[in-house]
Symmetry: none
Subunit: 219 residues, 4 copies
């Protein structure tokens, strides 16, 4: 009785938790928030019905943990993109925008799950809170970079408005992937974001990428 069928059982708790969270994201994408049932989640995870309450105590907590998982994953993803980028603000902004259209985060399954939570966020402070923390750092970062670019490039833009516009545009393009799934692609949406950058910061960006600028040498 130590075959693979049993090997699947009695996994460490963290393994089970992530397995259930991934199943939750799948179901959220497939059926939406309102029709999500723990039975569906358990079945997709290939586990029994009672298991969710065992690992998460309640449906509410499973959903909160799922959102937190997604928020953490997303935050880590763009932080890593920033780390890999150079020190120049333009390069950093470019990396930040590019990260948003990486298949890792920009795919229908995950965006559908995000959108499911957004739809309930109005009436659930906890969701607002979790999204808010993540968003705050993200927009602060965007704002900081826009300020640097505006200063650097001598643009006359209001950097905070530009940052907010860019933030909104990125979110809006994610939604487009959901709602115009038949008629657009991730690449097209990325092209739109790039076009936006080149228009707003023509001294820094071309469709081909970041302009190597005259000025103090980058490390």
């Amino acid at each position: 009785m130590a075959g693979p069928a049993k090997a699947r059982r009695r996994q460490a708790a963290p393994v089970r938790r992530e397995q259930l969270i991934r199943a939750t994201i799948d179901e959220l994408a497939k059926r939406g928030y309102a029709d999500l049932t723990l039975a569906d989640v358990a079945e997709r995870a290939g586990l029994s019905r009672g298991i969710v309450n065992f690992h998460f105590d309640s449906k509410r907590k499973l959903l909160v943990e799922t959102l937190r998982f997604m928020a953490d994953e997303y935050a880590e993803f763009w932080h890593q993109a920033l780390e890999r980028a150079g020190l120049a603000p333009a390069e950093r902004l470019w990396a930040l925008v590019a990260a948003d259209f990486d298949a890792e985060v920009c795919n229908r399954r995950k965006i559908a799950a995000w959108c499911a939570f957004w739809g309930e966020a109005k009436s659930r402070p906890i969701y607002r809170e979790i999204c808010g923390e993540r968003d705050l750092i993200h927009s602060d970062t965007l704002r900081g970079l826009c300020r640097e670019l505006v200063a650097e490039g001598g643009y006359e833009h209001d950097p905070d408005r530009v940052a907010e516009g860019l933030d909104a545009l990125l979110e809006g393009l994610w939604l487009h992937l959901l709602f115009q799934s038949g008629t657009t692609t991730r690449e097209t949406l990325y092209a739109t974001a790039v076009e936006h950058l080149t228009i707003v910061f023509p001294e820094h960006f071309t469709p081909a990428g970041v302009l190597r600028r005259a000025g103090p040498p980058q490390t």
Copy 2:
């Protein structure tokens, strides 16, 4: 002509239907999609529980009708804004953008209701369909205007990308009203949209409004 309790009785069907739809929007904004109950809707409308099934047959149909109502209302709103605008593309685009930030459509109650539907749209084709019709005409209009402005102003932008970016930015700013309700206002968001327009089409727009352009006089 007894008291209001009696005056409430026996209204024509269309009156009741709209009354119930408005109550549905209220509840959607307050409790979200997943927690919406017909009992809550009926209570908010000051009517009895059975009334929704009498007028809409089912909860599903009530929600569909509610979304359709909102889509129609929004479409009519921006169409009217276009009609009131001049013939010049710049004036028309300005009017279209301004309409999106009118308190009539840009308020937390309605945007929360929209967002509730978006959250379920992935898994409910009927919602996608209703939103899709409305969105298609709206983005076609945006794209047409952007093309005209690009041609008129001699910009080097890709007009279709610019239009898509503007569309996404407008949607994203609506979401901001929901999620940053404590820290931003409708006016601020509008300012961001205006800033965007002035950056993208500097020959046509200033923060103060549409530039009267040299060239063939507008009617």
Copy 3:
């Protein structure tokens, strides 16, 4: 406003009542007892929803009146058949059996309605009572005739058992019309009843009909 559309209205109460009872029988035959709704009855009668309660006070009373109507109609039908028959017991029994297979009473619509009531009779004393009165006279009549025939023909049968058997056989054959509707006909069932009579009372009946018997002349 005195057109035919209005002429349909404001009928005398008895006309309306019978109209509704007939619609009830139709619906009983179509949907069965459990799924009968007043809305269906009213719609089939071409009248408005509130009308049933106006004329019958309640659904319960409508059903009771419908059963009573059917019982009266059936009783009158076989009483008239008896009246048309001669005085000889054989002729009377033959007429009684033949009446049960007349298209007027022996058709799927009416038998389905009867059967719907039988299904509920166990748990509704009022139905039992109404059917019981009718049945009692009917079986008394059958019993009387069987006794006369047994005495007349010198059969060794127990006349009461024979009468009960005949009664049961007639009811059973009605059920067959319902349940073997695809594979049998009223005529076949009648033939079975006739065969039964000729076997039980061979001195009185042949497949062709009642035997004119030697003995004291009939009036």
Copy 4:
């Protein structure tokens, strides 16, 4: 091994299913088909309200399974009676008729349940189907035996009509147990069926039972 309240928990599914089916038959007999509620069934079974949907998915399926249970049970009962009977057709027919009046199947509870289904059978094809299968084999068996007896005894009867008449008579007598419950008994009804047999097949049956016939010895 706590008290009975605990012992009731966690039975194997088939046990629960049969328990619920028996409770359904009880309630059908008590309240009739139209007034049957799952709450009543669950309460009679001493279980909670949700249990029926857990084991049967829906009320409709519970009822179908109940009817199937009854049909199977009845079919098995008379098949076993046939197996215990000898090989002589007369003995087999006698056994078949006797089986129909055994207290196991011929009691008010079960006949009331049957009758409840018959009342709805007209409008529910699935009920017709389930009853139909059972009835078909039963009447085929009756018909086969009647044909043998007619051939054996040199009767001039039409064996198919005789078989149909017997079938109808047996069903009709069951109904009598329901509707004349105060004035008749199972024994009386059985006597009527026996009388019928002795009249129709006098060479084979006497009130005391099957006649040992002259002729080829039975195995």
